[in-house]
Symmetry: C2
């Protein structure tokens, strides 16, 4: 039985969970792997707050760099968050040849190539199972279990806060703003919710998954990002009547060395598993050319689900250190080429708010026609009060660029009310 | 780039899929892992049948032992099936220190301890991702991704044939025998369907998953096994009205070094993902103490889904051979103790067929009462024709031994028609 020293940077919610699992789970982990990860040090600015975990005070320090440098620390767990100090300390550990385990999706999405290059230079590994979808072992699935597959499509519900808000909006018929405030009060959403509700957190995770799916670094800048602020209760209701739910979905279309990644609200069929993902849960659907569809579902955040992924990575790193096996190399090479979006026509859900006067619907339909977008169905209901009425179009397949152009024309149309709302309809069938 | 030689024993459906993926997927696999698995030989009795795969005839041989012994073959893929020749050749390869990749659940369930001991003796590994749930990487998830967890409960739909039959029975309101015959004609069920429909195949897989969940070998003999022959359309209909679907479910209750494993038809809630698993798909729900619920879904059989898992294992074995890293050791130690079934009271669905005369329902209810089983609800409908009527009881929680005793009394009851049908109700909530 070999001991492998572990140092944790950041004693927040997840850091405390990792410390707890290491302290009480040692026997189990050790019996399963033959290697015992031993907690050597925990660094944080605040050493006094009670985290509900019995960590020996002698292990606590404010000096994170000293933890990285400590020769008894062989695996460094980065849980500081952000991209500045976390980047410095990660690079410092990797330069020393120490594997880094991280849950920091922003760090990887912004600085992945630099960090993976630093790991390669010294043969240290970067382990990031916890950076996407919490405790669901999706990174391992993509890197190892599905390695024989070309991944054509990948779909993910990757942000628990957004999924919680959409679920509450639907179940309580409450508007976005009210649900967001309640979620903030309950601790399910940050005081500044932008990272979550505007889709950026999902984009970070989508870039990581896309990198694994296509085998080349996918630059964050190439991800088209939308959030859920514009989703109204009316949309949820219409979607439901049509047999769909609105989800903030990451969609990866992968090809040979290229990828097209979008994040935005999508209509997902109610009768597919992805349409059944509720509350704070995350899910990923992977379409591989050999395996077909595989689907993964679990908690995407929280102290112990995230700590489960971190400790799984620590065990993996520790096993390799103990046996002298190399760490997995991360994906290298030139960045993935952006895939021509025009190649993938989609169906669209389009809700317009039009002045209630003759000819408006016809004009909107004309605009779609001018851009070559064919209408599958139209819904305009009687009885809406006020000067504006909602009009719903479902379209046949049309390329995003055509829809973008049509939306521009519609916004400029005389008699248009609020900006048009346009979501993709994802049948999740991809090429299969 | 290192080449690692692969030999395939058994050129059937899956063997042809593996050969195909190795021949056309080499570039992808190699670029992802830095190691190239190269097909060196394929052994089968029948060398002439066209498998639709362009394998060089020079690689084909009838001599499986020679493939195992061939020094250019470093990884042996066992796809012969059965437990006699497959066992001999597997032990032969392991004795030579060659890792074996297998999809053979019967072999592992019957001879696991012997095979894992042989692997340990020479440091060769046994890779068996394909033995359970086809292309879903559930073995990796349990061994690595969730290694930090104590697994309390595990539920699985592990036999595609049974799930296909139950789905068709429900959707077409057709009886078991008719659907089975149609499934046999369509190639979804074997000419001798017993291994599938009587639950034995599921039991093999359940024993493997239980072994990983509790960290000790779980003897196949300790698994209580039932099949789906007794499931009627009436049961599917009743279940549906009550908010459930009937599924052939493997249920693992794991504890410290012990496990209780049952396979049988269960009522699963319609509004849970497990209740949505249709047709030939497989699914596994794992309840870990840190991660909570994680759920995995995909195709459990078929040429390419199974080959996907096999080639993932080949890549793993090849990487370790190339880097000199040890193979994962399988679980050793004393067999898991059977967990006292009495410790886990369950809710039950009980359908009786009673002679249509006064007092029968009361007598059945009395029997339940005498065994301490409390009734939650009773359904007896008007209008059933014939001398017998179906009566449905849903019970509160009761231990299996009490229900077994009550069933015995009911079968012996004067005026009983067909044997009582009794299924567990699984709310899938376990300890959470």
């Amino acid at each position: 039985m070999k001991d492998i020293g572990v140092g944790i940077l950041g004693f927040g919610t997840v850091g405390a969970g990792v410390a707890d699992l290491l302290l009480r789970g040692n026997g189990l982990l050790a019996s399963r792997t033959g290697v015992r990860p031993v907690l050597r040090a925990v660094a944080d600015i605040d050493l006094d707050r009670d985290r509900g975990v019995a960590v020996d005070r002698a292990l606590l320090t404010r000096d994170a760099a000293a933890v990285v440098d400590d020769p008894r620390v062989q695996v460094v767990v980065e849980l500081i968050g952000g991209t500045r100090i976390a980047r410095e300390l990660t690079l410092r550990a990797l330069a020393l040849g120490k594997p880094v385990v991280t849950a920091n999706k922003a760090l990887l999405a912004h600085h992945g190539p630099e960090i993976f290059a630093a790991a390669r230079a010294t043969g240290a590994g970067v382990y990031f199972e916890a950076s996407v979808a919490g405790g669901i072992p999706i990174i391992r699935a993509l890197r190892q279990g599905l390695v024989a597959n070309r991944v054509d499509r990948l779909y993910g519900i990757l942000n628990g806060t957004c999924n919680y808000i959409l679920t509450r909006m639907e179940e309580e018929n409450a508007p976005f703003d009210d649900v967001l405030r309640a979620a903030q009060a309950a601790g399910y959403a940050e005081a500044d919710p932008s990272l979550d509700v505007d889709g950026h957190d999902t984009a970070h995770k989508a870039a990581i998954l896309a990198t694994l799916a296509c085998g080349r670094p996918v630059p964050l800048e190439s991800v088209r990002v939308g959030g859920i602020r514009q989703v109204s209760n009316l949309d949820l209701e219409y979607a439901r009547e049509l047999g769909y739910r609105v989800k903030l979905l990451a969609v990866v279309h992968a090809g040979e060395g290229c990828a097209d990644v979008t994040v935005g609200p999508c209509l997902v069929p109610l009768d597919r598993l992805m349409g059944q993902v509720r509350d704070v849960f995350n899910a990923v659907l992977v379409k591989g050319d050999a395996v077909g569809d595989t689907f993964y579902h679990g908690r995407g955040a929280g102290r112990y689900p995230t700590a489960s992924a971190i400790v799984g990575d620590i065990a993996d790193a520790a096993l390799r250190l103990a046996s002298g096996a190399p760490h997995d190399d991360a994906y290298a090479g030139a960045p993935a080429a952006p895939r021509a979006a025009a190649a993938d026509p989609e169906r669209w859900y389009l809700r317009l708010t039009l002045t209630d006067r003759p000819g408006m619907l016809g004009r909107a339909a004309d605009i779609l026609g001018r851009h070559g977008i064919s209408i599958a169905s139209v819904v305009q209901r009687e009885g809406a009060a006020g000067p504006h009425v909602p009009v719903l179009f479902l379209t046949h397949r049309a390329v995003p660029s055509a829809m973008d152009a049509a939306l521009k024309d519609m916004a400029a149309m005389d008699g248009a009310g609020a900006a048009p709302v346009c979501f993709r309809i994802e049948d999740l069938n991809g090429k299969e």
